[in-house]
Amino acid sequence: MMRSYIILGSGLVLAGIAIALFSYIVIDSTPLTAIGLSTMILGLISIGLAYSRPKLSPEICMLINKTGVKNTLAILEEFEVSNTAIYLPRNMMNEHAKALILLDREYIADKKNIEEKLSDIFSARYEFSIPLHNSDSPQRFKEISHNLIIKYGNGPRDMAIAVTTMGNISLDFLKRKPEPTETDIQSAISYILTGILDIAKGVKVHFIDTKIKVTVSGIEKMNKEIFQEKTLYSQILGSPVASIAAAVCSEALGKPVRITYDTSLITTFSVALEVLS
């Protein structure tokens, strides 16, 4: 992709110089000289833009992405997870945004039940982790963000797993924490999806009480396989678009957020989020 921009740019610069010189010296035409000048500017822009693209090919990015998704999927399958993930802001997870998945056998649909579980998790910090590494330092138990498995009660299924999603990582692109307003959240999601990732055309965010509706339009058709494939991963953690929307909303509001609805129609994504307290 980078090469095509350089080829286009070089071609335009050379053609621009040729047209400008020929028009100015030989045929003495000002409009044609101006066209040559414009072509040169377009060529220089193309060359400049080519060097601002990452050097990794989309295939390599896809490979890395798929590896991560498959590993997380294996964990989700191993734990027979049925509950959808709860996206937590950085301030609740020692500056590491993560998604928390409750391991209860039965699907918890009720908002109040989830909030009670979250309250258990964040009040019982001493019970947090299954020792997965050999450090017995008491400090480790405070560092919730570094643990994969979080135990918060005495029951065998009183556990949750904390995973990092695409949405959580995408927060690193933001220059500042978004304000908890519709416009700022919309602008932050739009910045990630349109400006940085360049996969969508527009984003709209609407607050309805404790619910947030995010509509993302103009998702590229060629990304259908990644963005619209229904797997256990997307059922639990949401599609990449929903994951980004949930992570940004959670970070902006400073509250846990879960995806309640995530669907796509041709090139438009509709995501409904529920803010938990």
Binding site: M1, Y5, Y24, T30, P31, T33, A34, I35, L37, S38, I41, L42, L44, I45, S46, I47, G48, L49, Y51, S52, R53, S190, Y191, T194, G195, I196, D198, K201, E220
Partner: protein, 86 residues
């Protein structure tokens, strides 16, 4: 890369429009063409850089904007010099 393509296409359309309109009005001053193209470029570049363009892309666009702006001032100086000569 759609946003990059959109940026290049917007510039191409704006430049074409400027050139066609000025040619239709029978303008024959190259500096006028250059200045109009410069203004079109600066406005579109400002719109894209202040909107959602990748921060990495702002560097080459900024450099080119500075060069074009410098050229704009140069032509302005030239015009002022010509007026002073009269």
């Amino acid at each position: 890369l759609r946003i990059y393509n959109k940026f290049i296409i917007s510039l191409a359309l704006a430049f074409s429009l400027v050139n066609i309109l000025l040619a239709l009005f029978g303008q024959d001053d190259l500096l006028l063409y250059y200045n109009t193209i410069s203004i079109a470029y600066l406005v579109i570049a400002l719109f894209y850089t202040s909107a959602n363009l990748n921060p990495k892309a702002n560097i080459p666009i900024g450099i080119l904007s500075a060069l074009i702006f410098f050229g704009f001032f140069l032509t302005l100086g030239l015009k002022l010099y010509q007026i002073a000569q009269l």
